[in-house]
């Protein structure tokens, strides 16, 4: 078989495969042999043998820079463009790939219409990527659940602590009215715990939804006064135990309404008060300030205890704390607070005061003027 025959047979094979061969000669890329049909769909002018490749594809123009480098290097070197999509004149799309190579000193550009193999690769990638995304979502869903679960345990624990403290105080108490009060507190805490257990059993899913979806929370309205009093009662036994006073400052508490679910708000306030109590020196005080500021209510809870070290401050509310360093129990309730507050378009933050002490603040939109 002569070289000419071999060449024409090779050309025929490429033609059957639908691969267009362009030869680089005197500054232009010319088609070699019969252009495949699909080529005309994109470049209607490339119909005749010897036609030049039009410079209308921005992708190819960019690839030709790599191709020229490859041709200059010569030898075995090849450059592949990777797949790209080209629009046909009638509005369809074709996936193509270009290869630059040198054969016998001749610079060659192959243009291939990608077919079944490419489609198979694409569908593999589709599945792989969908799986990765589903995995990421599941992971983050689990983190949220973990936080909620922890918060519920914390709440049950707090209720139990109230029962224990009340019982201990009753033991020491002589005043019958005071004993009556403590008994009522203890019995309320017991009921609370029972409610919580029921919640865990029945409403866990709904609770998660309520926290995540804003449908329920967007319409929520809570009288700040009610939530503050409920939170105050929640923490009263622990405060009494440590001899710490809770001082409220601000006026018009009962006129203030915030756009947040009342259970969530009470939980947030109780958590922040418990936090402050932990830092507060025994016999000292914790202050709860509230004020209305341009369509929002700002609540500040401060203590005079030692300020948190900076590395802790940075991660107090961070989701990353659970993701990266594993669940840090003490931060989970604060993360719950953050999620609950942000879900109703509020903000939560911490600041240490230079004169010492810690302040947690919560900014909540009022129902009339959601932020």
């Amino acid at each position: 078989m002569s070289k000419l025959e071999r060449d024409s047979r090779a050309g025929a094979v490429l033609e059957v495969l639908g691969i267009a061969v362009f030869v680089h000669a005197s500054g232009a890329l010319r088609i070699s042999g019969q252009p495949p049909d699909w080529l005309r769909l994109i470049w209607p002018t490339v119909t005749e043998p010897d036609a030049t490749l039009p410079g209308s594809s921005a992708f190819l123009e960019n690839f030709l820079i790599d191709a020229r480098e490859c041709w200059t290097a010569g030898g075995e070197k090849r450059a592949r463009s990777g797949p790209w999509v080209e629009q046909t004149a009638d509005g369809n799309e074709l996936s193509l790939e270009a290869t630059a190579l040198t054969i016998g000193g001749q610079a060659i550009l192959l243009l291939e219409r990608l077919g079944e193999v490419f489609e198979a690769k694409k569908s593999m990638l589709q599945k792989a990527r969908e799986t990765v995304i589903a995995y990421q979502r599941l992971n983050s869903e689990m983190q949220k659940k973990e936080i909620l679960l922890h918060c519920i345990s914390e709440e049950m624990n707090a209720a139990l602590a109230n029962v224990i403290t009340s019982l201990r105080l009753i033991e020491l108490e002589k005043d019958p009215t005071r004993i009556g009060q403590l008994l009522r507190l203890a019995s309320r805490a017991t009921e609370e715990q029972q409610t919580l257990i029921n919640k865990v059993l029945n409403v866990f899913a709904a609770e998660l939804e309520g926290l995540r979806g804003r449908d329920g929370t967007a319409m929520a309205q809570t009288q700040l006064g009610d939530a503050v009093r409920a939170a105050e009662e929640n923490v009263a036994p622990q405060f009494a135990d440590k001899g710490v006073r809770l001082r409220l400052a601000g006026s018009g508490l009962d006129e203030m309404r915030v756009a947040m679910d009342s259970t969530h708000l009470t939980r947030v306030l109780s958590t922040l008060l418990e936090n402050a109590l932990q830092s507060a020196p025994a016999g000292d005080e914790v202050r709860l300030n509230f004020a209305e500021e341009s369509g929002a209510i700002l609540i500040r809870i401060s203590d005079n205890g030692p300020s948190f070290p900076p590395d802790i401050c940075a991660n107090l509310f961070s989701r990353a704390a659970t993701a990266a360093s594993g669940p840090q129990a003490s931060h989970l309730p604060l993360q719950f607070c953050r999620i609950a507050v942000e879900n109703c378009d509020g903000e939560i933050g911490y600041e240490s005061r230079h004169e010492g002490g810690n302040t947690f603040w919560v900014m909540l939109p009022t129902p009339a003027a959601p932020k």
Binding site: A58, F59, N62, G82, W84, Q126, R129, E130, V132
Partner: protein
């Protein structure tokens, strides 16, 4: 008319293709069809009285399966770095990719698009992280390829930065 090449860069499934589709064709689909390879779209925008023809390169998501090919970035005047606001990890990925892009083509204008802003209840990206990036000089937009919010604004702002370098 001024012609500028921009690239869509970011992890898989963050909404690069959807942002282009909304911006260029005013269309959105909920169905996820991953991009394999490159597709180029064109759209003219008016920026402060000037017409800019954007050549928008939709690149495939950078992930473990397929790495961003830096040769595609050649000649880019800017890029839109896209993250999915409902997947915090895609912001970390965007930051990492941005480093690679800068190493490849130098400091060209870019904007961070925090996409899927319509999915408020699933939002995961902390504002404090965005503030940190802003402090580093990053400009970011919340976008929704679904509802259109911020989409045109992001492309126009990127164009503005490309034609009038600071």
């Amino acid at each position: 008319m001024i012609q500028k090449k921009i690239c869509m860069i970011g992890a898989s499934g963050v909404g690069k293709t959807s942002l282009i589709s909304k911006f260029v064709h005013s269309m959105f689909s909920d169905k996820y069809l991953t991009t394999v390879g490159v597709k180029i779209d064109k759209k003219t925008v008016a920026v402060d009285g000037a017409e800019v023809m954007l050549m928008i390169w939709d690149l495939e998501g950078d992930d473990d399966y397929q790495r961003l090919q830096t040769s595609y970035l050649r000649g880019s005047s800017g890029y839109l770095l896209v993250a999915d606001g409902t997947r915090q990890i895609t912001l970390d990925q965007a930051i990492e990719i941005q480093g690679r892009v800068t190493a490849a083509i130098g400091p060209v204008p870019f904007l961070l698009a925090l996409n899927k802003a319509d999915l408020v209840s699933q939002w995961e990206i902390d504002q404090s992280r965005v503030d940190d990036l802003t402090a580093r000089g990053w400009k970011s937009f919340k976008t929704s390829a679904k509802e259109g919010a911020g989409v045109e604004e992001a492309f126009v702002e990127l164009s503005r930065q490309m034609i009038q370098p600071p």
